[in-house]
Amino acid sequence: MDLPMKWLSEYVDLDTTTQDFIDKITLSGSKVESVRTLAKDITNVVTGKVLEIEKHPDADKLVVTKVDIGKDEPLQIVTGAPNLYVGAVVPVALVGATVYHGAGLEKIKKGKLRGIESNGMMCSIEELGFTTNDYPEAPDYGIYIFKDEVPLGADVKKLLEMEDDIVEFEITSNRPDCFSIVGLAREAAATYRKPFKYPDIRVEEKGDENTADMIDVEIQNPELCPRYIARAVKNVKIGPSPLWLRHRLTASGVRPINNIVDITNYVMLEMGQPMHAFDIDTIDEHKIIVRNAKEGEKITTLDGQERDLDPSMLVISDCNKAVAIAGVMGGENSMITEGARAILFESANFNGPSVRITAKKVGLRTDASAKYEKGLDPNLPLDAVNRAVQLVEMLGCGEVCKGMVDCYPNKREGWSVEYSTESINALLGTKLSQQEMIDLFKLVEVKADGKTALIPTFRPDLVSEADLAEEIARFYGYDNIETTLAAGTPTVGKKSHSQIVEDKVIDTMLSLGISEAKCFSFESPKVFDKLNIPADSPLRNTVTISNPLGEDFSIMRTVTLNGMLNSLSTNYNRRNESAHLFEIGKVYTPKALPLTELPDEIRMITIGMYGNIDFYGIKGITEELFTVLGVRERIAYSPKSDISFMHPGRLADISLDGESIGYVGEIHPSVAAAYNIGAKPYVAVIDFEKLAENATFDREYKALPKYPAVARDIALLVKENVIVKDIEDIIKAKGGKLLESIQLFDVFRGKQIPEGYKSVAYSISFRAEDRTLTDDEVSRPVKKILEELEEKLDAQLRG
């Protein structure tokens, strides 16, 4: 919403600077988005004194003048202005100046008028972008002439204080009344405690006919159209609006069209009430019907586009056809044209949500619909229509007929809201007296008596005591409310167990050199093919977005790998030597499709790495993590080959107490290729929730050993397909109570080892708490271990 400061001054005399206004109005609740300065476009216009006036040899209506602009040589300017005289001091647009001329802003060029050279242009007040309202001393027609003594060659813009500031506001949806100059003026007046001057609306009604004799109005759906006023104007003279009106429109960002349309736009800006004008002769049988559109009905709107309508939409129609989409845009079939004889002003109230939905459906959000959708005051159309016809009379562009047709089946009255001074004070933390509050209410035209507040109908947002409290706070000043720290009941700030675990996971990853990533939670369904996920996999059952920003963002992820692989790919293709990343992020698993309840949202730890890493490197990272979280002893890794996007020979299932909680391994080379990653990517995916449930930070100190450990090294010859887990399981099972630790220290293939075999070497450590072990005590379990290894795994002790 654009507010020209000079227009504002018609309704309230603030007597302050624009900056001060912005600061204060911001703090009383109207949010300023930006400011721009008007007349910035007017350049190079200086004062000049007419020295000579001579008739143009070849043109009756033109004169040739010499003008002193304070330079050595006077300028020769040809003009048609009627009010010039020798000695007059006037604004002169020099060659290169910009002023409003003809259709709009124009750059003045050196030129010849009927053969005589002219080096500039003398300007009327309108050509400088202003009106006789702003400068009453200016002639209605002709060049502006300075009354007072002014220096020659001086900047006219400065001399006449022409610059205006346009303040742009962001109006919140609860304040439809502020979508108007008048509404903002009311706020400004309240903010500054100055009197607010509502427009003085008077209509003479010179037309001889009654509107009621010219037009009928029928509202078929009063729910969507609470009020419809029609007012007729005869003998209209369609033409351009005067410059002052055009300038006000352009200052507010509205393009002038013709006087009648401009009037409707002017009233919309000033009063906040959208209006429409129909050519009365295009309305069949002169009957306006407000009804729902018919199935399959179409209308061509003013912008020349054909629009499909449906029965949820409200239209203005005559007996045969729709002539406008209610509150959105008029139809081409009823638009005002040059030849219009009589017109009909519509000033109506439509249901906000209905206009919003209609505008959205037809894909046409107009200035009018933007206002209607907020929900306007049904008492506003009366003043608005009268304001419009008052302007018709002011501009002399038609004869206003007597009376109007006003369909307003259920008049909306102001309502009252109960309040108490004490409870408003209690909510705000203020100590205002009853009278102080009553006075603050008065500022916003709310009549209050200490118990009841009577709300004007233009404030639909005021319906409860809390709303009233906000009005008090706004004009008492949010900044004046004393700052306190809630005493209340003390609470202890803390993190939950899983939040602490999450922090610990992050800390551990960071200390292992892995950086934190964040990936999108939605992705493309094509991801499943890219990851080779089978067509019947439950992973393909996704929470699907009905209105996504395109297919690439259409499903909530059920696997985290795509985001991680994309991140690795980004790094790889930007030639980063390595990337070690982790993410703690959710997957979204529906319980049923379509959704009947909220899906499971499970946080996953996803580690992804390439460069300077191998399988055992990433496995070690997971082991370290499990150690930190106190579950290392409960974790087992076992070979696995059934994840389609993983390398089948380099993949381990991770289980906790026998329940799988994730996996670690190398990405399948064809998947790595699909993601354009030239290095071998390694990943680990672990269910955070299951991990967090089991994680513990409880630790119990075990006394440091007093007696030495006895270690035995054994080297075993086993077949290639024997995995160390099986060996270790046997060592643990047969090691007895004294077994302290086992350490794999060598795996060897080659010389002395037969083809298809490998040598695996362990250091097995035994210790007793209360004594130094004898050789015999150690030999017995080692013997058992070796026997079992031989029996189960065909393992031979190497000499």
Binding site: L27, S28, G29, S173, G352, P353, R356, K360, E373, A426, L427, G429, T430, S464, A466, A469, E470, A473, Y478, I481, E482, T484, L485, A486, G488, T489, T491, V492, G493, K494, K495, S496, Q499, I506, L510, S511, L512, G513, S515, E516, A517, K518, F520, S521, V543, I545, S546, N547, S567, T570, N571, R574, N576, H580, L581, F582, Y588, P594, L595, L598
Partner: protein, 341 residues
């Protein structure tokens, strides 16, 4: 004999002084003090001395031995020091060469911002609440006093699941207010950070996925002054002790009165700069007193309890704090970006 002893001493000390390494010292020790050494040799003639001379010469011999031993030790120490010095010199390295370390990983800037805010509020007695991102229309809208026809419910802003039905991706963290109030009796002090979703095309300043943080305080006798106090403290914690705040009236359907809070620009201190677009202020959060209707819907009696709520976008904080110019960087995970934090 006295002379001989003196000669041995002088000779030994002179030779010791000339010794250049530990081996020479050892040879000299053997030569003078060894079992077959010169001093021992002399002392073998002690038997021939008179009774009176014997103790005198004996004492002298001991003195000579002590002198030589002393010198020997001193030379040993000196030579060892010299040898060590030479060794250390040989071990000199170029200390300006780079250090060796396993580089630490880097915490995502968003997480750093969230951690920072969490710590401030935990210090003020708040707990951290978590909740679902796939939400129902009831929690995301209805219970927050956003009725069915409100513009905020426009399909344009909200991602829906199952058509325009009951399920959607939460557009704000505010549903957490409702979830907490339904499950917890006052006093309530919580913050709830998390992901939210809105249908904005991806560009430098927009992302369909971003982070918000919600805060809620419910207790008896909570006032707007308390809201101002708590959030002013928060702003100081986040932006520095000298930070000033201002509250501007605003509109949110689920708070009344509502406000937006600006903080004095942390970059220029309020003088006006690029960060604050010359205004001296940066917009930090939206807040307000919890709407009585919201309290009622959550089963909390607005006549007994009152409270305040606040919500803020976190990407903007991170972008301002770290001068990040493009939002897309936050989800790209380029390690050259992440390593800067």
């Amino acid at each position: 004999m006295k002379e001989k002893l003196a000669q041995i001493r002088d000779k030994a000390i002179q030779k010791l002084n000339e010794a250049a390494d530990l081996k020479t010292l050892e040879d000299l020790r053997v030569q003078f003090l060894g079992k077959k050494g010169e001093l021992t040799g002399i002392l073998k003639g002690m038997g021939a001395l008179s009774k009176e001379e014997r103790p005198v010469i004996g004492q002298l011999a001991n003195e000579v031995r002590a002198d030589i031993e002393g010198k020997l030790e001193a030379m040993k120490t000196a030579l060892a020091a010299k040898a060590q010095e030479a060794k250390l010199k040989a071990e000199t390295i170029d200390v300006t060469m780079p250090g060796k370390v396993t580089e630490l990983g880097h915490k995502h800037p968003m997480t750093q911002v969230i951690d920072n805010i969490k710590n401030i509020f935990i210090g003020m007695g708040y707990e951290i609440a978590e909740g679902p991102e796939v939400e129902t229309a009831y929690y995301n809208f209805e219970a927050l006093n956003i009725p069915k026809d409100h513009p905020a419910r426009d399909e344009q802003d909200t991602f829906y699941i199952n058509g325009m039905g009951d399920f959607l991706l939460r557009t704000q963290t505010s549903p957490m207010q409702v979830r907490v109030m339904e499950n917890k009796k006052p006093p309530i002090r919580i913050i709830a950070p998390g992901r939210v979703y809105r249908a904005d095309e991806v560009d430098a300043t927009h992302s369909p996925i971003f982070h918000q943080l919600e805060g809620l305080v419910i207790d008896k006798g909570i006032t707007m002054g308390d809201l101002k106090g708590a959030l002013a403290e928060f702003a100081k914690g986040l932006f520095g002790e000298d930070t000033k705040v201002r509250f501007r009236p605003h509109h949110f359907p689920f708070t009344e009165p509502s406000a937006e809070m600006d903080a004095s620009c942390f970059a220029c201190g309020g003088k006006g700069c690029r960060v604050c677009k010359d205004s001296g202020w940066i917009e930090v959060l939206g807040c307000g007193m919890v709407h009585p209707k919201v309290l009622e819907m959550c089963g909390i009696d607005p006549k007994v309890y009152s409270g305040f709520a606040f919500g803020m976008g976190l990407e903007r904080v991170a972008m301002q704090k770290y001068a990040i110019s493009d939002l897309r960087l936050l989800f790209e995970n380029d390690t050259r970006f992440l390593k800067q934090f």
